[in-house]
């Protein structure tokens, strides 16, 4: 940092009887301490301040508005030159203190000035943490701490270049928003999966990320910076995964640490910061420490409220009030980015003895979380609507018991203590012109009129006739209440079965909203669709994961923790916790090489049972979990891949020998089966999908009880679907007849895709077909050729991302944690 010319503001000469107070640092905390001291004991001290920054005391919290251009430096000055003159304070600007001599009781600055003290206040603040990656010292790499940083950023921003901000916490986001406002192209890198993870849970973090991205700022989470690249000045940031982001400016905003070096050199007790007692004195009773450099009871502080409380205590002590003591109180913080409202206060870390009350309102972009312990509010996080922040902050500070108002607590002070309103009463009270559906601009009067005049009975009717709640669906609850108010007991809202207890939405609604609202991750979806639980349950998570996989091929990152164990480890769990392994045998065909490899694996790994399955393959049962990757590696070597015998996806294509061998065979059923399996394998479907191809109507492959079956005839191929031979037994329906193998494959792929797009999770083909109608399916896949081709095209695209053998990936080391214990204590115990 370049120093500006030394400026000295000096007023009246020190008089002999006054005590000499020297202050190292000129930030907000010592500024407040002096204000309080001059109030309590005017004229008691002759004060000298050393300020490393070449300027007067200013409001550091307001640096972000200066960066964004919303404020000028003059507007954030706390103490102008006049204040120093008025209080007889000697201020050395741009003077860093380099030594404290506790024996002689003097301090010495870098410029060689030595000043004696009776009392000393250390307020050296904090230093930004700089990640020591290669290139961190290049020109153009800045931290975000003081006005010099802001001025350097403003200068860099004039070039309208590209900025990379490392750190997606409070400071990093404020810096990013400010630089964006200055016209720079900004990317925020954040190491953790979600932004501000210390203040927000993942769902709210995603909401914030969207708001940040909506301002045109790119956000990359889980971004581990490997190096900053450049010859003389910064040119790019390199991430661990090899991504290279061009950058003219890099801001490191990853955190701060107390600046306690000077105190440590002087022999004071230093932990993380300068250790102080309740009277704010350090281990030397004549020396105080205040602000971000101070450590009290193992804690350091970075927010202004506790620092001001420290300042008040020091002022009291210096004025002779020995009873002045520091008790740290809860803190509150706000993100100062215009248009994004975020407030957090108190302690919101998770612990066993705490409870959460969460309110989400996705349309209005509102998220409120209140953390309770022993019926008291101990922490609060508000996103979107922060107006109640002060009220909750007050509850935290007072430690009020909230038992009496718990039910309405989250709604804030306007409901405090009162009874909750009957929601239908609130809807009934709305005027006719009140807008119910924002997407389609439908007001209350239009809906009630439609209900009464057209005799509408349920939500679907109202949607069809008025378009209310037919787009994003978030007003569905409101519309339902309106129907209830209008029809009274005549309304029977049993129409939609919710997916599970975590939501009121049915499967179809969720699928529709995934597309309508462009939802691409489970946390995003749960936030936007107002999930009632923090992270779903074992029913909804696998379903959501499937819907996202099926809707966004190539874009959605599969969440393995939301998959059932069989799909997570690509084997079938058995009753004793061992697994079974089934390699693919295309169309039921195998060879000596494959059989030999299977035999070798069975012997090598001591696999207790080997069995033929109903789908014409071989099952190895009783494999220990830790052996799975090695078993797969051996099977891979013989050319075999996972048979997906565990998957809600393509299982088997069973065939007969067809024209290859059979005297009755009409077509190459084995060949078609192999082609189908090679085309369809890897695809995820709502439930398992089993196919068969029979070479003649004698149907040796039992194709007429499969999800999809083909019966070869002389003139071509009869395609069947919607059979069942499990819980239910049902013969297939005929979908249609095609002349060529290519057509058969196209129709079957289109049918599979339609099922993928419409089927509810765990709904087999026959149940889906019954629900939507056999004729509807036939019409879309057989009759409407355009539609068939479009479905086929989507299936082909999706397969590009699906046909990766999961066994080969895991044999090569993917998800290794799944197959090894975390720790083995058997040895340790034995040693005792």
């Amino acid at each position: 940092m370049t120093m500006k010319s030394l400026e000295l503001v000096r007023s009246t000469k020190a008089t002999a009887h006054r005590q000499r107070l020297v202050v190292i640092g000129n930030g907000m905390a010592p500024g407040r301490a002096l204000d309080k001291l001059f109030e309590a004991a005017p004229g008691a001290y002759d004060v000298t301040i050393f300020n490393a920054e070449p300027r007067v005391n200013y409001d550091r919290i307001m640096l972000s508005p200066v960066l964004s251009g919303e404020k000028k430096f003059e507007q954030i000055v706390i103490h102008g030159d006049g204040w120093y003159v008025k209080h007889g304070v000697t201020l050395y600007k741009g003077s860093t203190v380099t030594a404290i001599d506790r024996t002689a009781k003097t301090v010495t600055s870098a410029r060689g000035i030595t000043v004696p003290y009776d009392k000393l206040m250390i307020a050296t603040g904090s230093l930004p943490i700089v990640i020591p990656v290669p290139g961190h010292k290049l020109a153009g790499v800045l931290s975000y701490r003081d006005l010099d940083d802001v001025e350097a950023m403003l200068l860099a921003a004039k070039s309208r270049g590209t900025a990379v901000v490392i750190g997606g916490g409070l400071l990093g986001l404020e810096a990013a928003a400010g630089l964006k406002d200055q016209g720079m192209d900004v990317t925020v890198l954040h190491l953790m999966p979600t932004l501000m993870e210390r203040q927000l849970d993942p769902a709210a973090g995603h909401l914030l990320q969207r708001a940040v991205e909506a301002r045109g700022i790119k956000v990359i989470t889980k971004a581990n910076t490997k190096a900053i690249l450049g010859e003389k000045k910064v040119e790019a940031v390199l991430l661990e995964d090899g991504t290279r982001l061009p950058a003219d400016l890099v801001i490191m905003a990853v955190g701060i640490r107390p600046n306690a070096g000077l105190a440590k050199d002087a022999g004071l007790d230093v932990g993380r910061g300068i250790q102080v007692g309740t009277d704010m004195r350090t281990s030397d009773p004549d020396i105080f420490a205040v602000g971000e450099c101070a450590e009290f009871a193992g804690q350091t502080y970075g927010l202004v409220a506790p620092l001001y409380e420290m300042a008040t205590v020091i002022a009291g002590q210096l004025a002779g009030d020995a009873s002045a003591t520091f008790t740290p109180s809860v803190t509150a913080t706000r993100l100062k980015v215009t248009g994004i409202n975020l407030f957090s206060a108190g302690d919101f870390a998770d612990a066993k003895d705490r409870e959460d009350i969460v309110l989400r309102d996705a349309t209005r972009g509102i998220y409120k979380r209140v953390v309770l312990k022993d019926n008291k509010v101990i922490g609060a996080v508000f996103y979107g609507d922060t107006t109640d922040g002060a009220w909750f902050f007050d509850l935290i500070k007072k430690g009020s018991d909230i038992t009496a108002m718990r039910e309405t607590l989250i709604f804030g002070p306007s409901y405090a203590g009162g009874s909750a309103l009957d929601p239908t009463a609130a809807v009934a009270a709305l005027p006719d012109e009140a807008e119910i559906c924002g997407c389609n601009g439908v007001c209350k009067g239009k809906i009630t009129t439609a209900i009464t005049q057209l005799g509408l009975k349920n939500l679907d009717d109202v949607r069809a006739h008025t378009k209310a709640s037919a787009s994003c669906g978030t007003c569905t609850g409101l519309v339902e209440q309106l129907i209830k108010v209008t029809l009274g007991d005549a309304y029977n809202p049993t129409a939609v079965q919710p997916m599970c207890a975590c939501t009121n939405l049915g499967h179809d609604d969720v699928r529709r909203l995934i597309v309508a609202k462009d939802l691409k991750s489970i946390p995003d979806l749960m936030q936007a669709l107002e999930w009632k639980t923090s992270c779903g349950c074992a029913k909804c998570r696998p379903a959501l994961n499937y819907y996202l996989v099926a809707t966004w091929p190539g874009e959605y990152a599969d969440d393995s923790q939301s998959r059932y164990i069989n799909e997570r480890v690509h084997a079938n769990i058995q009753k004793d916790g061992t697994y079974s392994v089934v390699p693919r045998m295309w169309g039921g065909m195998t060879s000596a090489k494959e059989l030999r490899a299977i035999a070798d694996v069975v012997e090598k790994f001591n696999i207790p049972s080997v069995k033929c399955t109903g789908g014409q393959r071989i099952d190895m049962l009783g494999v220990k979990k830790q052996d799975l990757p090695a078993v797969w590696a051996d099977l891979n070597k013989a050319g075999m891949v996972s048979g997906a015998a565990y998957a809600k996806g393509l299982r088997t294509v069973k065939t007969c020998v067809g024209t290859d061998w059979c005297r009755f065979g009409t077509q190459d059923s084995t060949g078609l089966g192999v082609k189908l399996e090679k085309f369809l394998w890897g695809s995820w479907t709502p439930a398992k999908l089993k196919l068969a191809v029979s070479g003649c109507p004698r149907n040796c492959a039992e194709a007429t009880c499969k999800d999809i079956g083909v019966i070869c005839v002389d003139s071509g191929y009869d395609i069947h679907f919607a059979g069942a031979a499990g819980l239910d037994i049902k013969g297939t329906e005929v979908l249609g007849h095609v002349a060529t193998e290519d057509e058969a494959i196209e129709v079957i792929a289109a049918l599979t895709q339609l099922y993928r797009e419409q089927g509810r999770y765990l709904e087999r083909v026959y149940k889906w077909a019954k629900r939507v109608g056999i004729d509807t399916v036939r019409q879309q896949v057989m009759d409407d050729v355009e539609r068939r081709k479009a479905l086929h095209g989507r299936f082909v695209y999706s397969q590009k991302f699906a046909q990766i053998d999961p066994w080969a990936e895991r044999a090569a080391g993917k998800d290794a944690h799944e197959f090894a214990p975390l720790a083995d204590l058997t040895f340790k115990e034995a040693a005792e």
């Binding site: 998770d350 998570r541 923790q561 164990i565 069989n566 769990i573 720790a823 204590l825």
Partner: protein, 115 residues
């Protein structure tokens, strides 16, 4: 009978996937160590009270796990079956210090005697 706690480092919290679990082998059987979405950790016997299903293989949601065998939902905090099901899995004291997981070996040893 509660012996004095004896904390043993069993690994880093980060080596367990979020909303996932891994096992610690002991002479009395496996203990499942869970990590929730909120980065809490819990240790319970890797045996469902219903049919001894390996709970470590289940889907973790909130502070509960759904057993992979028959979908019983077991509370990670108490080890008790939730909903209509009745049953109890043993829990173990576990703490997180500096990102490391510490398990009370004294309790594990006591469990061994009982088992």
């Amino acid at each position: 009978m509660t012996a004095k706690a004896k904390w043993v480092d069993i690994g880093a919290l980060d080596s367990i996937p979020v909303r996932g679990a891994r096992v610690v082998k002991t002479r009395a059987g496996c203990i499942a160590v869970f990590r929730t979405a909120e980065n809490e950790a819990f240790a319970i016997d890797d045996r469902c009270p219903h049919k001894q299903g390996p709970l470590s293989q289940g889907i973790v949601h909130g502070r509960a796990v759904t057993c992979p065998l028959h979908n019983w939902v077991i509370s990670l905090e108490t080890g008790a079956a939730t909903g209509a099901d009745k049953g109890q899995t043993k829990t173990y004291a576990l703490k997180i210090e500096g990102g490391r997981l510490l398990l009370d070996a004294a309790e594990v040893a006591a469990g061994k005697v009982a088992a």
